[in-house]
């Protein structure tokens, strides 16, 4: 149907976004690539020069490197699991007729509005601290030994904090999808005598598939780069228990001021992120096509 003229126009309308993003991607990427082959420490400008693959070698052989990749995947996977499963359950609950639905929904989505560093500080100091945190108070009230979260379960603690921030997002999208489920279909299934579980499995879940895909895609992009929560709470420790790739790059860039090394880390992170993205697209991407 589209004439050549509209097609040209369509291109023209796409152009600003594409060109801007192209520049936004290529310029930093090119600079990062360039710096990744340079010996460039901000605090030591004298030693600048061509480094070959030294930066890559150094980043790759960092004792924390492999653990940091594993940690990155655990954080992404853990948070996704919690937010998707928790989000579905919450969405199902909020879809029920309840008293004060509006207020409940507001309370549930609120964590999404909290800045990551604030969220991390609040959780660290007021909720999870083994001395004067709320969880410790509850544990003591129940006669239990307070859990030292950041020493005993450091990575799990980070996952909890990040999941708390993203649960509202997942819930919102899943709830929107759920509410679009045809009322008649639901009733028909009920008439057929399908029990709650079957109805969920064969009617609701397939209907939510696209929404779940969207949640996974968008969150993955943000979760790959989590670092503020780690910086505020554990500084990547104890050991390398909470060092993920983003934090490792942070350490190289803003503690060692090793621009070359951080750039190499950045390039490695981009490559890995794209592998994850490719894998994701294979696994769930077909849900996006109708």
């Amino acid at each position: 149907m589209a004439t050549r003229q509209t097609r040209t126009l369509a291109r023209a309308m796409m152009a600003p976004a594409v060109v801007l993003l192209l520049v936004w991607m290529i310029v930093p990427l090119a600079m990062t690539l360039w710096f990744s082959f340079q010996n460039y420490n901000l605090l030591n400008p004298i030693t600048r020069g061509f480094a070959g693959f030294l930066n890559y070698e150094f980043f790759y052989t960092d004792p924390a490197f492999f653990q940091s990749i594993a940690n990155t995947l655990i954080i992404v996977g853990g948070v996704l699991a919690i937010t998707v499963i928790g989000g579905i359950l919450l969405a199902l609950l909020l879809d029920q007729p309840i008293f004060g639905q509006g207020i409940v929904r507001i309370l549930v989505i609120s964590p999404f509005f909290v800045m990551p560093p604030v969220a991390a500080l609040v959780w660290k100091n007021m909720i999870m601290h083994p001395g004067y945190g709320v969880l410790a108070d509850i544990a003591r009230f129940l006669g239990l030994q307070p859990v030292d979260w950041f020493a005993q379960h450091p990575l799990f603690s980070i996952v909890i904090i990040v999941a708390w921030q993203w649960l509202p997002f997942a819930t919102l999208i899943l709830l929107t999808a759920l509410q679009s489920l045809d009322e008649e279909q639901k009733e028909a299934a009920e008439m057929d005598g399908a029990n709650v579980f079957n109805r969920f499995l064969y009617l609701t879940l397939p209907h939510l598939a696209r929404a779940i895909t969207v949640v996974i895609l968008i969150q993955t992009i943000f979760l790959l780069g989590v670092y503020a929560e780690i910086l505020v709470t554990t500084n990547g420790g104890p050991g390398y228990a909470t060092t993920n790739l983003a934090f490792l790059i942070y350490r190289t860039a803003l503690l060692s001021y090793d621009v070359g090394g951080a750039s190499a880390g950045g390039v490695i992170a981009v490559v890995l992120a794209n592998i994850v993205a490719l894998f994701l697209m294979r696994a769930v991407g077909r849900n996006l096509d109708r």
């Binding site: 600003p16 420490n41 901000l42 605090l43 030591n44 400008p45 030693t47 030294l54 150094f58 052989t61 004792p63 924390a64 660290k124 601290h129 083994p130 001395g131 004067y132 307070p146 030292d148 979260w149 950041f150 020493a151 005993q152 910086l231 709470t233 554990t234 500084n235 990547g236 420790g237 104890p238 050991g239 390398y240 228990a241 060092t243 350490r251 190289t252 803003l254 503690l255 060692s256 001021y257 090793d258």
Partner: protein, 436 residues
């Protein structure tokens, strides 16, 4: 689209040109209490210098350090005065990133600055930053608990005494921990304490040829002693405790002893926030009889980046903020107890100050006992008591700090932590070209 960019541009351009005639100094500073007070009192400066406007950028310590370091290294030129520590000064001065402070005005009395602090801020006898407040570290302890344990704290205790006392004071049922020490990973967190502690055990980061020394018995003694002591007498969650967490614990009466910055004394003795204010005693940081004590030296200082166009005004401000008159001003406005400590000899000779700050004498002794140019028992090629003043230290110190906090949390043995620390240090030093 273009129009809205343009409008936005106009709007922000309009806002930026609001300060027309006066010269505006942009001052980057850390959000500690003494600096906040300086901002409050800055009217005194601007009323004396009507041609200078002040503009503050206040940030927490780590973010501030990132910001000013990035800016000065890239010559971004965002700041005219920077608040930096004794770690940065020697490194930056060597790069010619800082202007020498040669124009602080008459009556500034540079010779009044405490010698240990002054030497930490000078390179080749030239002052590159003026100290705003200085600190060392010492022991704060609970007199009542010490008495209950049947002990008396000497003014200069040994590590063995401290460890023994800590174990005796510990009463898990009453939630009293014999000793609270830093455990949170970071070069300025647990490594500040542990490096200072290792000095007293005869350990050092590097030998004269920059060879890392974590495989030496002195480090093993240090770390084992620390981990054992914290296991027996430290609080739960110690591996994520820094200055503030320990301060909170001490103020709530949950610590028998606490070894940390001397500025903490004014917090723990403040009856408004501290439940144990009337029971706090002070002592020098412990030693092992080897001639070095486990105390550090730090000074938050004001410096002028070499890129600024407003060097004269900047020095004028620094001169005001670190002068004797400023101390007087704070004393008259907010009392002697709130005067920024640790910078001037004359302050410690002032009887009014000595009365208002019972910890003044030990603070001075602690500062004097620290020697940044000669910090360890064995000789070292570096400057710095609780740090090594080389650019690589921040990253390396934080990595080693992570390993040591894992040892504290029980996730790693002391031997493993030291072996890995040695490994990463050798790696880092090779890369930076210190060793082959």
């Amino acid at each position: 689209m273009r129009i809205s960019v343009f409008v936005l541009g106009l709007a922000s351009a309009g806002l930026m040109t609001s300060t027309a005639n006066a010269e505006t100094l942009t001052i980057a500073t850390v959000n500690n209490g003494d600096m906040i007070r300086m901002q409050r009192l800055a009217n005194d400066f601007t009323s004396k210098n009507p041609d200078i406007d002040l503009q503050w950028v206040t940030l927490e310590e780590n973010v501030l350090r990132e910001r000013v370091t990035t800016d000065i290294a890239t010559k971004g030129g965002q700041y005219d005065v920077m608040t930096i520590g004794t770690y940065e000064v020697p490194i930056w001065a060597k790069q010619d990133w800082l202007l020498p402070l040669d124009n602080l005005g008459e009556g500034y009395d540079t010779d009044d600055l405490l010698p240990a602090i002054r030497s930490g801020l000078s390179v080749d006898e030239t002052l590159y930053a003026a100290p705003f407040y200085g600190e060392s570290s010492f022991i704060m302890y609970r007199k009542d608990l010490m008495e209950k344990a049947g002990l008396t704290m000497p003014e200069a205790p040994t590590w063995d005494f401290v460890a023994d006392a800590a174990r005796k004071m510990t009463d898990r049922n009453a939630e009293i921990n014999g000793i609270c020490l830093r455990g949170k990973a970071g070069w300025g967190e647990n490594m500040a304490f542990l490096t200072a502690m290792s000095n007293s055990f005869g350990a050092r980061w590097f030998d004269e040829n920059w060879q890392p020394q974590f495989d030496q018995p002195e480090w093993k003694d240090t770390l084992q002693f620390y981990v054992d002591l914290m296991k027996d007498a430290g609080p739960s969650g110690a591996s994520s405790n820094g200055f503030n967490e320990n301060l909170a614990l001490f103020q709530q009466g949950k610590c028998g002893m606490w070894i940390d910055a001397t500025v903490a004394a004014s917090f723990v003795s403040d009856p408004e926030d501290s439940t144990v204010a009337d029971q706090v005693g002070y002592a020098l940081a412990p030693d092992k009889g080897l001639g070095k004590r486990a105390n550090w030296l730090w000074a938050w200082s004001l410096a002028v980046p070499a890129g600024t166009q407003k060097a004269e005004a900047a020095q004028k401000f620094i001169s005001w903020a670190t002068s004797k008159e400023y101390l007087q001003l704070v004393a008259s406005e907010e009392g002697w107890a709130n005067v920024p400590p640790g910078t001037r000899t004359s302050l410690y000779e002032n009887p009014e100050y000595q009365e208002a700050a019972p910890f003044a004498d030990l603070t001075l002794k602690s500062i004097e006992a620290a020697d940044p140019t000669n910090p360890t028992v064995k000789p070292v090629p570096y400057v710095g008591v609780q740090f090594v003043a080389i650019p690589e230290f921040q990253g390396l110190g934080t990595t080693v700090g992570q390993l040591f906090s894992a040892a504290l949390a029980g996730q790693m043995s002391v031997d493993d932590a030291l072996a890995q620390a040695q490994n990463v240090s050798e790696r880092e030093m090779k890369r930076a070209g210190y060793i082959k």
